[in-house]
């Protein structure tokens, strides 16, 4: 609890932190995201720079995992060809829930320079898997990817865990009523 030591226990609480269960769980989830380490094109080079010591991606609590089964999110870093699209989709399906996707660079966002004549390029990875954060750039600067990571973390922090089921249930019931 280095943070509390630095603050000098401002509330005289002897190290006790107050918060909802959801806040504390989400805090942990947001600060410990494991990502699947794979790269597709030149964005992967920039992605490697992000992972290296100068930009130090691991200070966000991210750890590269070689297996989709141990990953919390995937960074689609580069051009997704039609041949690769099926593999990317399969990798996404192999990840355990909750899972997130960051789309890195113009190619993964919308086809990039291949948007018109790229007969073999998927025009945006969101055509096959749901994307949570889009990072623009060709390729994005490492700082842009860090910004994307911060956005993903703030998204995870605000996520509902407990009421989510009730909410989904209510939505499903509403759909059923409509369907009837």
């Amino acid at each position: 609890m280095g943070l509390l030591n630095r603050l000098g226990d401002p509330y005289n609480a002897e190290g006790v932190i107050l918060g909802t269960m959801e806040q504390i769980l989400n805090w942990g989830r947001a600060k410990s995201d494991w990502f699947m380490s794979f790269g597709l094109a030149c964005c992967a080079i920039e992605f490697m720079a992000v992972n290296a010591s100068h930009f130090d991606f691991m200070r966000f609590g991210t750890i590269p995992r070689p297996s989709p089964r141990q990953s919390d999110f995937m960074i689609v870093s580069g051009t997704v060809t039609m041949k690769m699209a099926e593999r990317v989709k399969r990798l996404y399906e192999q990840m355990p829930d909750p899972k997130y996707v960051m789309s890195m660079g113009s190619c993964a966002n919308a086809g990039g320079p291949y948007w018109e004549h790229g007969y073999h390029v998927l025009k945006g990875v969101d055509r096959i898997i749901p994307v949570d954060v889009y990072v623009p750039g060709c390729p994005p600067r490492p700082e842009a990817l860090l910004e994307g990571m911060i956005m993903l973390q703030s998204m995870i922090r605000k996520e509902e865990i407990f009421k989510k089921r009730d909410k989904i249930k209510a939505e499903d019931e509403a759909k059923d009523i409509k369907a009837v």
Binding site: A110, E116, Y119, I128
Partner: protein
Amino acid sequence: METLEIFDRLQAEFGAEIIDTGGAAPGDLFISVNPERIVDICLYLRDSAEMKFDYMSSLSGVQNKDNSFAVVYHLYSVSLKHRVVIKTGLAEENPKLPTVERVWKCADWHEREAFDLLGIEFEGHHNMIRILNPYDWEGFPLRKDYQGQEEYHGVRIPY
């Protein structure tokens, strides 16, 4: 050895199979040959003591302005440090020529690429399948009349 000298030697050896030599600049010269005896010509270029073209740097498929096809061989001799460019012309309909896979082993993937993108068939190749595109891809993407697929495995391709 210079391209023009190689042209003379080849013509002495193969006669009418060697069509002509062309190119604008001295470094840009090439030799046009008939595709039928390309394997013999390549074997001669590889094994002759004066030539010793032991390295094929590139084999490329080309579709010309008049829609006919061509295959271009860039050869280099590591021991004699000279290079030459050999071109063969092919018809627009059903372009095919013998493989040189058994002359230079690296021709294997080069020929598969030319087949994948332009549909030039190399007869006698042990594994004439696509190399870059998926195996069930339709059409040959670098042909001038190529129309892209609308959909691949249920995913829309156009922007």
